[in-house]
């Protein structure tokens, strides 16, 4: 189990960070999202899905195909590298559908043995998994009728611009759908990852697999990789809070010199250090198909989901009033962290799952 970052991973991180810092700086996010008079965010707003940025990240940097073997049209790296990209996306909240397309849909297509994965790996097309973003053990409600799909799936992530939908149906089989459905935007707590309701009415569909284990594996992979995004969120929140407290002065002292705040940040740092270890462990275990991957995913999901929310909440509190304003990006991290806590199974769900996984019965 390698819990470190390889040199290649560090190079990948540097490239991704440079791109995101240049094209989607955090400080500009609140302004992009909504001016003072703007109402509900429009999920087709380029601020919420930036096709040019996505092309640069997915196709030019080649991150969309990291976990895809070269033979299948990918970069021949692994989920370890995908996890590094997610750390950077957690730090930047850049509006790109990496999780839905390069993690969820790609994992499902790979596990189902579909050649169509090459389209996602190249960045030419974008996909997602058509499940409510809060899904953990998903019970599909879409029906198959004569090779077409009908039904509704609510609160789907990264569906705004998806070309390919991987749709679970009753019984757990997966189908590929490219047309014959409608999208309705939801108003989401997380302003930087819009959710969409999908309605299928006799949509033409292509069977990917009848094995329900593929869906379970895809969801578990998503949760394990989401831990890296949560790590990135927590790191941004901790670092920006430390920076602010070093600068902000009250009572003729830097606020960061007050011991009660220092101790809270030391405790938070300790939790972030733990988050890094668990997120790496989960990514490594998933990349290598390790036998204890379900345990390590559960640990990472439980810990990182909790740490990201705590870091974002401390970030708001310790920024004082400025952190409560729309103009400061802190609230966007709080909203992302809280939504991620619900996404793909809450920390509590994953803790409960350990009862069976490690034989600690109720």
């Amino acid at each position: 189990m390698n819990l470190l970052y390889t040199e290649i991973e560090e190079e990948l991180r540097a490239s991704v960070r440079a791109l995101l810092t240049d094209r989607s700086p955090v400080a500009a996010l609140p302004g992009r999202l909504a001016g003072p008079d703007q109402h509900d965010p429009d999920p087709h707003d380029p601020a919420l899905h930036d096709p040019a940025l996505w092309h640069a990240l997915a196709a030019e940097l080649g991150t969309a195909g990291l976990q895809v073997p070269e033979a299948a049209g990918g970069a021949g790296a692994s989920l370890r590298e995908s996890a590094v990209v997610l750390e950077e996306l957690g730090r930047s909240l850049a509006p790109v559908p990496f999780l839905g397309s390069a993690v969820l849909a790609t994992t499902a297509l790979l596990a189902a043995g579909s050649e169509r994965v090459a389209e996602l790996a190249s960045g030419a097309r974008t996909g997602t998994l058509a499940v409510p973003f809060s899904s953990w053990e998903h019970r599909p409600t879409v029906r198959v009728e004569g090779g077409t799909l009908s039904g509704r799936v609510t609160s789907v992530a990264d569906a705004t611009a998806a070309d390919l939908l991987v749709v679970p149906v009753e019984g757990g089989a997966l189908y590929l759908v490219e047309r014959g459905f409608t999208r309705t935007a939801r108003t989401s707590l997380d302003l930087t990852r819009p959710l969409t309701d999908l309605a299928f009415e006799r949509a033409p569909a292509h069977l990917l697999t009848e094995d329900p284990a593929v869906l379970a594996r895809t969801l578990r992979t998503g949760a394990g990789l989401l831990a890296s995004e949560q790590l990135g969120i927590a790191e941004w929140c901790l670092a920006s809070t430390v920076d602010y407290l070093r600068e902000r002065r009250q009572f003729n002292r830097p606020v960061g010199s007050f011991q009660a705040l220092k101790h809270r940040l030391a405790d938070l740092w300790l939790e972030v250090v733990g988050a890094r270890a668990t997120a790496r462990a989960a990514a490594d275990a998933l990349a290598n198909g390790a036998a204890d991957a379900p345990v390590l995913v559960a640990v990472a999901a439980s810990h990182c989901g909790t740490v990201a929310v705590r870091a974002a909440e401390e970030c708001i509190q310790l920024h004082g009033g400025i952190g409560m304003t729309w103009e400061h990006p802190a609230h966007l991290f709080l909203k992302r962290a809280k939504a991620d806590q619900l996404a793909l199974g809450t920390p509590a769900r994953y803790r409960s799952a350990l009862a069976d996984l490690v034989d600690l019965p109720a």
Binding site: D40, F133, R186, Q250, A260, Q317, G321, W326, K338, A362
Partner: protein, 410 residues
Amino acid sequence: MSEPVSTDPVSTDLVDELRSRVRALLTEAWPNGAATQDVDALDFLRARFDAGLAWVHFPVGLGGLGAPRALQAVVDAELAAAGAPDNDPRRIGIGLGMAAPTILRYGTSEQQRRWLRPLWTGEEVWCQLFSEPGAGSDLAALATRALPGTDGVWTVDGQKVWTSSAHTARWAILVARTDPAVPKHRGITYFVCDMTDPGVEVRPLRQITGEAEFNEVFLTGVRIPDTDRLGAVGEGWQVAQTTLNNERVSIGGQATPREGGLIGIVARTWRTHPELRTAELHQRLLRHWVDAEVLRLTGERLRQQLAAGQPGPEGAGGKLAFARLAQELTGFEVELLGEAGLGYDDWTMVRPELVDFTGREAGYRYLRAKGNSIEGGTSEILRNIIAERVLGLPPEPRTDKDVPWKELAR
């Protein structure tokens, strides 16, 4: 003008007398009870003020009768029972809770007569120009300048922030620096600022919830006559202490029922949505329920202490405990909701007059509750106050108390 009531210890006689005064007021100014359509609410409120039944502990002539504060509850209950109009304390809370006690203590007779009656009736809304971008917890570091003129008029320049009601207010209580050459606590003066002055610019401050409850207020050459100063020049810090220590205390108010407040919302969701329940959420819900009941009983004990004339230090903790509970409960509620917790009701930028936790959805409550531990004194400052004033722990070494304000690093 009414006669003052007896100032003996609270007695049944006194309660009876207050009840009879309320009945007299109702007979005169609200003759047909709730069916009255032809009496203007404002007229009734003015009559109530003049009868000394606005705030019975205020002096005669200023809306009170010099009676014990605890007896206000008797008056309020009688008037509520009769369905008489009220002055909507939530809308004019800053005036009632902060400006009025300060005007009472530091104002001249003329100032008291000019401001208190329309303040209480709600004809004139008040706001508070205290916090600045560079002076939050460290309010005494404020940088807004007031320069004296030869014509008895001050000129004020600066920026204030976190001002609720600024766009509806007629008056503001304002602290400004009048002497930068002395230590920061000593160079401040307290004014009443006319919000209709052309130098006052109010801009909404959009916040985490999408709405703008608060405002930024830019003061550019605002003119304030010296007759609108409260307290002596350079003594504004002491005057401000009266303002800050007089948050409205609900003496003699009704006890909060069990499951009042946020816990009630969460408990109802739990009971009506069995499909959301898990063993883990159940245990956390029970913890939150206990915490809410502890806070309720703590508040009830405080209420009993105040009613018995034994105020204890426990009051200092109420806001701190409430903020923590509100944040935990609202975070739990979003998590409990699962998929529904991923949504938000409305990001529209509006300027609400009041914060209404119950009228919005879980996501709003979660975000708005984050402000509970920041606004009106951060939880960190409250912990300092409890540690030093209640527990008697020593202060930290200070480097800012004796240095001239202009020499402090910023």
